[in-house]
């Protein structure tokens, strides 16, 4: 829990505390919003991590949720490629393949840590 605060910062902190009271729902919602955003821009993965970090009760939990989100996001992506019959071709793309794994797994974790450092 954060220390008591006053003024605008206090109101934000109170809001964050309330969000964290419903941690699982908030993490799910944050992940969903981030995932939707990721369809438009890779920054969605950072956003997902940030929202997950915001909703998590501790840094450790934030990292764990962000990691889970990243793995799930990549699995969703892989499933779409499997469905299109191009998963084998995707696996052969070398650095692009590695990067396409690193982005959904790594960026949410960075986003989560960055936010947990502030709130």
């Amino acid at each position: 829990m954060s220390a008591p605060a006053s003024g605008a910062l206090g109101r934000v902190t109170d809001a964050v505390d309330r969000i964290r009271e419903a941690e699982h729902a908030a993490v799910l919602l944050g992940g969903a919003v981030g995932l939707l955003a990721a369809f438009l821009h890779w920054g969605g993965f950072v956003l997902a991590g940030a929202l997950i970090g915001l909703a998590s009760r501790s840094l450790t939990r934030a990292v764990a949720f962000a990691l889970a989100f990243g793995v799930l996001a990549w699995l969703l992506f892989a499933a779409s490629l499997l469905r299109s019959g191009v998963f084998g071709a995707y696996l052969g793309m070398g650095q692009l393949t590695l990067l396409s794994v690193a982005v959904p797994v790594g960026l949410p974790i960075l986003g989560a840590i960055a936010v947990r450092g502030v709130y």
Partner: protein, 807 residues
């Protein structure tokens, strides 16, 4: 450090990490799941039903991704063909036209600026526009227009552009008929755009005229295409094909920087390009029907140069290899005729120097001073500073310049040429007379065209426009630089960037040719002995290694009788080295000058059957030795003249013909006088060192397929494989592993025809046909080239709202 502080530091690091990623946003933007450009529409090929303004058509892909396109209307057919080409090969098509337009830098940045500068200076685009203008009103106009519309329909409907566009982040322009003409110019340039005249001048100036014995006017050998005593062509009196073309005139000084620049940017034919084809009449075959084999040797690339298609429309049913971006089967077969081509190597490019004044803005010509036509264009450079380029022309053609020296260039392909019309006629020909009507308008690049038909007729015709140069009323060779101001050697009837009347060119009927030969083989060797006109010297035409092997085997098979398609395939995959037949006895003769491992290698070669097989140790030794020997013979003299190995003779044949005591075998770096045997032995010592250093055990360890995509992304390249063959064997694969047989075809009318390409028919990385023929090609296997349309329709074209509309 408190937990809060630690958390804040961690957060700062994480934020920095995100910031770091943001600096690589282009890369991340490419590879991110869901939004990444690399995966946008990954695998999607477009709709199954497409509106066609010209009427219905169908496309059915076979087991190798070859589209079988069928329509009752000619324009509907070519519209569908264009759509299909774009679907499978769009990026390659765009790359070719960008290169020829001089627009690569707009996408690739600084590294292609000089290429763009050269291509703009040559103004290939204007030549293509003139060609298209000349084709308007001919039978090929409608197919070219329909093809362009089909390509553009794909651009409109494609769910996503091919991967290459998405990685580079640009969209292609609309396709136009001029772009199709540009594709034709690209092919012609790739086979005939050589500045040997300038290189020859540099060599002569640097090494002295005596060095030209390494660059003979013609190679001495017994296997020209048209063989004395075998073929019925009237030879001129006294000629044996090796007459001296040089006329003793001194070449003007040419800055080496100009030649080096052209080597880097011009992209003309490389020394390794060549081709094989041969035909056998029914008189010598098992079935009594004629047979044809063809394998053109070009740069092997991803995707392949050729795109296989089957087009069935009104009055036409043709299958074979096409260039993406053009609607025609360039090598192939229809229901009545089959044809194949190899490059003649005709000299169809000349260079001129001029007297100039007014700071080069005027040049003297025909007794008066004329202004150099000039305009300025801007080369757009992605991520760099745009460049201006000055495009200058004389009556002969464009001016190119380096180190203050300007040279005028005339190239047959700069005129309005008609080869698309020629190939259109090939596609529709039903017999020899109709096919000849195509040959008659085949202007460039000169091709050794071989022909067979269902009626049993055969033909060889190297149709093209070959310029005749005259100086003081005398025929002169074109392998030197002419005085443009004096009008020396200029081609009568040639108009660059316009319609030519071609009076000063070899008349079609006078081009050496054979009607109904029993058999004939072409492998880029000289066409004929004793011909009255100069067609090109030995640096333009090929060595006799492959031709010798093909003719020797054909001679034997004809004597034995009953040639069949199995023999044709076997010969097309022949890895025997005639190059080694010539050299190995000389290596063995030098055995006494070797010792240790070098002597063991000599003994290995003595026992070798001279097959360039991937699993052969002897082939490895021979290939390394041949390279070392070439260097041992030439490097000292060339290095002393500050000429690198790019200036070595294009072929080894002239070195093989040197006297054993020739001065070329002497090593200038020693005090003694070396002879051929010394150079042979020294090269074998080098071979031992090289093989030991590299750790090679067999030829395939060294000689490997290296067929790459233009992008530096490894996954787009074809897989690496140990490979047999060489640049000198019928089964053709150059030392670089990236030049060789770009299409193999065996055509028959009495049984199946066969074909294979080195890779796959699709340029789409995700396609199962991206490289599905590569191993077949390497193993000498073929697929049937059937005229049966596969069951099921992959793309159905339905009459659109503007069906029958204008083009």
């Amino acid at each position: 450090m408190s937990s809060t502080t630690r958390r804040r530091v961690l957060a700062a690091l994480a934020a920095a990490g995100v910031g770091g990623v943001a600096t690589q946003r282009d890369l991340v933007g490419v590879a991110a799941p869901f939004s990444g450009r690399a995966f946008d529409g990954f695998g999607a090929t477009g709709p199954d039903t497409v509106e066609n303004p010209y009427g219905p058509a169908t496309v059915s892909y076979d087991d190798y991704g070859v589209p079988h396109v069928e329509a009752d209307d000619e324009r509907a057919l070519y519209f569908a063909a264009g759509y299909t080409q774009a679907r499978d090969r769009l990026f390659g098509m765009d790359l070719v036209r960008r290169q020829m337009r001089g627009e690569l830098s707009a996408v690739f940045g600084e590294r292609t600026v000089e290429s763009d500068r050269f291509h703009r200076k040559m103004d290939f685009t204007a030549a293509a526009a003139a060609t298209w203008e000349g084709l308007r009103g001919t039978a090929v106009e409608a197919p070219v227009r329909a093809l362009a519309r089909g390509i553009n329909r794909y651009l409109d409907l494609a769910p996503a552009l091919p991967l290459e566009f998405r990685l580079l982040g640009y969209e292609p322009d609309e396709w136009t008929p001029v772009d199709t003409a540009l594709v034709a110019k690209a092919i012609a340039w790739g086979l005939t755009g050589t500045f040997w005249d300038l290189e020859r001048a540099v060599i002569e100036e640097s090494l002295g005229e005596a060095a030209l014995d390494l660059y003979p006017d013609a190679y001495e050998h017994d296997y020209p295409i048209v063989r004395p005593g075998v073929h019925d062509w009237p030879a001129e009196e006294g000629g044996d094909g090796t007459e001296a073309y040089t006329d003793g005139r001194e070449s003007p000084s040419i800055p080496r920087e100009l030649v080096d620049w052209l080597r880097e940017v011009a992209g003309g034919p490389s020394g390794a390009t060549g081709s094989n084809n041969w035909i056998v009449s029914g008189e010598h075959t098992e079935t009594g029907g004629p047979l044809l084999a063809n394998d053109p040797h070009l740069t092997l690339q991803v995707p392949p140069v050729w795109y296989e298609m089957h087009l069935r429309g009104p009055g036409m049913d043709v299958r074979g290899a096409a260039f993406p971006g053009a609607p025609l089967i360039v090598i192939g077969q229809n229901r009545g005729v089959a044809w194949g081509i190899t490059n003649v190597g005709g000299d169809v490019l000349d260079c001129y120097t001029y007297d100039t004044r007014a700071g080069g803005r005027e040049y003297r010509y025909d007794g008066e001073w004329r202004p150099v036509q000039s305009r300025t264009e801007t080369i757009d450079v992605s991520g760099g500073e745009n460049r201006e380029v000055s495009i200058e022309k004389t009556v002969h053609g464009p001016l190119i310049e380096r180190e203050g020296r300007r040279v005028g260039v005339a190239w047959v392909g700069l005129a309005a040429t008609r080869e698309p019309l020629a190939v259109y006629r090939y596609n529709r020909a039903s017999g020899i007379d109709e096919f000849r009507e195509g040959l008659r308008v085949f202007d460039i690049p000169g091709q050794n065209t071989v022909y067979i038909d269902r009626e049993g007729r055969t033909m060889y015709y190297p149709a093209a426009k070959y310029p005749i140069r005259e100086v003081d009323g005398e025929d002169v060779p074109g392998n030197r630089i002419f005085d443009g101001s004096a009008g020396e050697g200029e081609w009568r009837g040639f108009t660059p960037y316009g319609e030519s009347t071609w009076e000063g060119f070899v008349d079609f009927g006078e081009i050496p040719h054979l009607i109904d030969p029993g058999y004939v083989a072409t492998a880029n060797q000289r066409v004929v002995d004793g011909y009255e006109h100069y067609l090109g010297d030995a640096e333009y035409m090929g060595d006799p290694y492959r031709a010798t092997r093909i003719y020797e085997r054909l001679d034997g098979a004809v004597d034995a009788g009953e040639i069949d398609t199995a023999f044709m395939k076997d010969l097309q995959n022949d890895r025997h080295s005639v190059h080694a037949d010539v050299w190995v006895p000389q290596v063995v003769a030098a055995r006494g000058k070797t010792s240790g491992q070098a002597r063991e290698y000599v003994d290995l070669l003595a026992e070798w059957d001279r097959g360039m097989r991937a699993d052969s140790e002897a082939a490895l030794v021979y290939s390394v030795w041949a390279e070392a020997f070439r260097d041992a013979v030439l490097r000292d003299e060339f290095a002393a003249a500050d000429l690198d190995s790019e200036y070595y003779p294009g072929e080894d044949w002239p070195i093989q013909q040197l006297d054993p005591d020739s001065r070329w075998f002497d090593d200038a770096d020693t005090g003694g006088t070396e002879r051929r045997a010394d150079a042979v032995a020294r090269a074998m010592e080098t071979t031992v060192e090289r093989i030991e250093t590299e750790g090679w055990e067999t030829y395939g360890d060294r000689h490997r397929l290296a067929i790459e995509h233009p992008f530096p992304l490894e996954f787009l390249d074809y897989p690496d494989r140990p490979a047999g063959g060489s640049a000198n064997t019928v089964f053709n694969l150059g030392a670089d592993g990236a030049t060789g047989s770009s299409w193999r075809m065996i055509a028959s009318f009495d049984g199946p025809s066969y074909s294979v390409i080195p890779g796959g028919n699709s340029g789409r990385y995700v396609s199962e046909h991206y490289d599905d023929q590569l191993d077949m090609w390497l193993d000498g296997e073929y697929k049937e080239m059937s005229f049966e349309i596969p069951e099921g329709t992959d793309i159905e074209f339905v009459a659109g709202e503007d069906a029958g509309g204008s083009s």
